[in-house]
Amino acid sequence: MTLSSSFKTPIAIIPVLVSLIILGPVLLAIWFGVFSPSGLSWDHILNNRLLPYSLTTLFMLAVTGMLIVLIAVPLAWLISLFDFPGRKIFEWCLILPLAVPGYVLAYSWANLASVAGPIQSAFRDLTSLSARDYWFPDIFTPAGLSVILALGLFPYVYITARAAFSNQSLATLEAARSLGMSGIRLFFKVAIPAARPAIIAGLALALMEASADYGAADYLGVQTLGVGIIRAWSSYGEPTSAARLALVLIGLAFSFMLIANLAQGKSGVQQNSYRWTTPQRTQLTGLHAGLACLHCISIMLIAFGIPVLRLLWLCLENGVPRRSVFDPVISSIILASAGTAFAFICALTLVLSNHYRQRAPWITRLSAAAGYATPGAVLGLSGLFLLQMLGQSLTGIIALLLLVWIYASRFTAAGTEPLYASLTRAPASLDHAARSLRVGRISRFYRVDLPILSPGALAAGLILFVEILKELPATLMLRPFGWDTLAIRAHAYASDERLVEATLPSLLIVIAGILPVLLLSYQITRSGEALK
């Protein structure tokens, strides 16, 4: 491409600047972790806490990853290659659990599955056993946390595996069938290996999210690194120790990012646009159809229906809460809007610069992913350091701007994805076609780029809004005076053993999340057809 000449102007620096804005808090956290002097408690944390934190986190990630694969891959297989009653509905609604933040799932399932909760109570009533006479899985454990996180995050793998099953491996599957392979063997010998890069890419994203979790682990009393960082800051009062702990988490998250990128490169996303066909699905009947349907329903219920309905029930059972959620709703909307606007501008700048420039500087390709990989607690820490350096209090407007900055740093990547996705509809030849028709830069932006980006822009905006709405740890650390968001309110109530009060803010977050998730689902389903 010949645009390079125009990038020799100082304007070329703008995408680089945006990248630096995004990378700033990440680099700051690393810098503080490496160079700041040890706090008093660091020795204690190093000797007594670091290993348990790390082992718990690794155990949690391993179990979460395993569960996600076990839930998502067979589900994707079922949905992409078989037809059964309700398949079309399950296809999109299996993504719904993405709308429920991990901590909300934890509140609900902890309530449901605890010894005094409805499940165990009903069990005791049915069997007349006492609570001491039977074993029941304990949710307040690392394994319990893993189940919760897997329920919330499995759609990441479901989405990528489904795409892989219904596209590039189709021909391979048909070839394998013609060679007499079928059923389970087909699944393990051909389908899984063919879809492996896609599964790994989705899994790495999901585990990146899992390692960033604070709310669910804190509520379930599981001492992960995410919890440890906040504790080091708040209980030990040592942000520098927190920053050192954060280094471990950053290392972990970055390796997931690397794995995701490598796997994505291998998954061969490019499809022959002339060869797109909707896969011929095998029609299931009778018992098989019933089982397939039941399987999907069960997962939907466990990951979404039951926990959300439980919260709704708790909320309604106790009547209308006295304290208005008006203030936190307004705070949430303002903060999420500001964060969305800033992150969106960053995302658009990066996407356009990378799309139109053959050899974009590495920093513009890396920055968003690095910010996304860095857990909110770590970025919040950077915000606090900055605040201290600026000699500012948390009551001021500066804290607000910092928080918006942190949001952009963390979530810009979530905005770039849908934008890139819309641009796949626009091969480079499209721009050349427009240029050969003597249409100038500015007109091309309005006549080609904007219309093509607009569906992606809508999705990007909504996804950013909801991601920021759900964000807990960074908001917890940096929110300015009187800016409690719904997430903060839910967390505060739940930590205060007042689950009932926590239900309304939690439900509002879920409701706000459903629309963008559905839109995303629709886009993903449709993107296949548009390639025809």
Partner: protein, 338 residues
């Protein structure tokens, strides 16, 4: 022929990527109203040459001019949007957010409204897209997309038209009709046109001029007849049709005597004429139909020769046929060219 038609001249241009020279001192003359086919093996630089002419790439040496206007030199590069060269892409590159009408009208922004509409209407009619005017690209068949792409490129009256494998994505049935429509439109406009193709029959049948590109250089250019009958190298001969290499030592002496005395010869299928009076009698090893022609594999000494004929009936295998040599289709080149 419209008044603004001018020749497109490519003069000794070169392009390097890093140390690799992909286009090496290529010259090409594209005359108004003439269709030139650019053929050659994959990786020969066909697409790069096209991108250089279109202005998508800058060249390292040489000049490209349209009439008296200089498009590219080492020092100056006129951007694509100022060249007024129509482009048709392999993937058509239709704007997914615009209807058929919107796509065709896209490049007419310099015209006033009424003119814009009448030109668009004219192209919709010429390309028989009347009932598809409001359809979006993803709703169109491949042939329809192709016609929209050509209409869009031609509507602004470009000085030249470049097409990158424009027909390769189409079904064979559609291909012929679409190609006819497209090329007749180009001829009518009287502008120089260049298309890249892999299909030698397509190049031979439709081009006024063929340029064979090999390893970044023009191996040979000229009329289809000239190139088919007098290829200057194996690469040119291969690019334009089937050709077999024959180890002369393996041939029977009688046949050898009629052929040039070189160790290696190249024959097109037409080289052995079926001739009841032919002096050579060879056994048929295989006989099958290959479209219009029938393909016979004959045992000539220790060599197997493949020949093509129009036959009503295939000769049985293991019978013998009499043939004579048609030396127009027998080539030999200096060893250095092989």
């Amino acid at each position: 022929m419209t008044s603004n038609s001018k020749a497109l001249r490519v003069e000794a241009i070169s392009k390097r990527y890093g140390k690799r020279t992909v286009i090496d001192s290529v010259s090409l003359d594209l005359q108004p109203g003439e269709i030139t086919a650019l053929v050659g093996p994959s990786g020969a630089g066909k697409t790069t040459l096209m991108r250089l002419i279109a202005g998508m790439e800058k060249l390292d040496r040489g000049t490209i001019r349209s009439g008296d206007t200089i498009l590219s030199t080492e020092a100056a590069h006129q951007p694509i949007e100022q060249r007024n060269i129509g482009l048709v892409f392999q993937d058509f590159a239709l704007f997914p957010h615009l209807s058929v009408t919107g796509n065709i009208m896209f490049g007419l922004h310099t015209k006033d409204r009424a003119e814009r509409q009448s030109i668009t209407q004219d192209w919709i009619d010429r390309m028989r897209l009347g009932n598809r005017r409001d359809a979006f690209p993803h709703q169109l068949s491949g042939g329809e997309q192709q016609r929209v792409a050509i209409a869009r490129a031609m509507a602004p009256e470009p000085h030249a038209l470049l097409m990158d494998e424009p027909f390769s994505g189409l079904d064979p049935e559609l291909r012929h009709a679409t190609r006819q429509t497209a090329l007749s439109v180009v001829r009518e406009a009287g502008i120089p046109a260049l298309f890249v193709t892999h299909d030698h029959a397509e190049a031979l049948r439709h081009a006024d001029q063929i340029a064979v590109l090999n390893a970044g250089t023009i191996a040979q250019s000229g009329s289809p007849d000239e190139l088919y009958m007098k290829p200057n190298s194996l690469s040119v001969a291969t690019a334009l049709g089937d050709i077999q290499s024959v180890d002369t030592a393996q041939l029977p002496d009688a046949l050898k005597a009629e052929l040039p005395d070189v160790p290696k010869l190249f024959m097109r299928p037409e080289a052995l004429k079926l001739d009841p009076n032919g002096q050579h009698e060879f056994k048929v090893i295989r006989a099958n139909r290959a479209g219009t022609l029938c393909e016979l594999t004959l045992a000539a000494g220790n060599a197997e020769l493949v020949c093509g004929y129009i036959l009503d009936q295939l000769p049985p295998v293991n019978t013998s046929v009499n043939v004579s040599i048609n030396s127009h289709y027998v080539f030999s080149w200096p060893v250095s060219d092989l």
